[in-house]
């Protein structure tokens, strides 16, 4: 049972707060609902279609740890695991 995202969409497994602390990156408390979150890339779409019909190359790959920001990301459950689906433009940076 797998999700194959379309266009520039990316399936993310959210990283729990404990893991974030361990990695050394902590997000400050904020009233802004659009604060950045962290996730692990599970699946990557083929890229959005450009004006000439070709696809833009994707900048993340499966396994990358990323920082993303999206108001109300799409949440899905596969079995008992929760995933998020975001667009590449919602990804701020790869954490390395």
């Amino acid at each position: 049972m797998k999700l194959k995202p379309l266009s520039d969409r990316i399936v993310l497994e959210p990283i729990s707060q404990e893991e974030k602390t361990k990695s050394g990156i902590v997000l400050p408390e904020t009233v802004d609902k659009e604060k950045p979150e962290q996730g692990k890339v599970i699946a990557v779409g083929p890229g959005r279609i450009l004006a000439d019909g070709k696809r833009a190359l994707m900048s993340v790959k499966v396994g990358d740890k990323v920082m993303f920001k999206k108001y109300g990301p799409d949440e899905v459950k596969v079995g008992d695991k929760e995933y998020l689906i975001v667009s590449e433009e919602d990804i701020l940076a790869i954490i390395s």
Copy 2:
């Protein structure tokens, strides 16, 4: 009696909750009205027209099971079956 969608539109047969549970993908309860739904692709348009007049290739095909998200999708009845018409950009991922 058939529907032949235009541009990048797609005719979907919604998948009932029971089928979803069987497939192992469950959507969490949410207050967000734009939560993703699942459907089976019944018909696919020829693709939207790009700036140079050519059509963008469609990424889904008849028979695909997809996860889509759209506020107020267009609902139609053919005979006693209910279908939805969405644009390709409303489709988040193919379920495989």
Copy 3:
């Protein structure tokens, strides 16, 4: 007395509810004011002008039965017949 639509506009003759039931496609009651309607194509524009000055090919032809959706379509009367003028992007599917 005829209407020759411009750009990607299409003149439609609305299909009455009785005809719709006969055709086997029924639209559910809904509170959404933008629910799809059905019509017969009476006249087709030459297509909208693309970025390079050429016209996009139209996907419907005179005589097609179509499903369309538009908030407040332009209504005109030729003699005692009522017509609607919509853009091609308001047409969801051809009914065949």
Copy 4:
């Protein structure tokens, strides 16, 4: 004393209700303020400039009777005659 419209603008002489009835096309009463009106083309601009600097061809010519729709068209008086100035995109169809 003449008006030479710029870009895709068109100078129209509005057609009075009596003339409209005579022509066989009648517009229904409606609460929508943006209902289509009829006019005769008096002058036509050279066409709007496309992305590559060329001009899009105009689809109407002087003398055409057209159906147009515009909220608050620009009204001018030349001598004691009233004219309207609209963009080509406000023109729905040529009446023939």
Copy 5:
């Protein structure tokens, strides 16, 4: 002391109501604040830059009498003369 407008901007000297009556074009009283006005072209910009970096040709020249429409045009004084600065898209027609 002169103004050299940038892009597709045009410097206009407004034409007084008396001159307008003399020319035979009169604008009706209206509650719409965006009613067309008349002006004489004093200076013309080089044209706006198109997608390919070239400039679009300007359609008006110094000395033209034009009809323009702009909400809150930019007003400047050179010495004791008042001028307006508008974009070419605010110009509806050349009066000839």
Copy 6:
């Protein structure tokens, strides 16, 4: 200590009211908060990037006196001098 503006941004030194009167161009009192102001060009960006990746040529150069209009321009202080940072599109005309 210098500012090197990016894209089509321009660093301006505002011209005081006394200097403006001396130059013969006076701006009328107005309730419109977006009234044009005058400034001297201190630094010029390399130009904004066009669709093909090249940069649009800038139309102003260091030393030009310009008329600009911007709601809430960005104000910075270098030492005890106040500067403004605007985009080229906020510049209406060069004063010569």
Copy 7:
């Protein structure tokens, strides 16, 4: 532990008020919440993808001191250091 920004995003280390005074550039008190701030470039993305699929060249490099302006920039903590993530278009000028 590092952040590798995507597209035209830039990771900035904010410059404290004391450092700003030392550098000779001071920002005036203002009620505008979008007032420019200063930062040091820590990491630079590969550039946004243009219409033809190529990337626009970035205009800042690691180590540059920049003036930026953004409402609600994305704030992250790496270890106990606070960083901001902005887009290149939020950067007004390089301070040299």
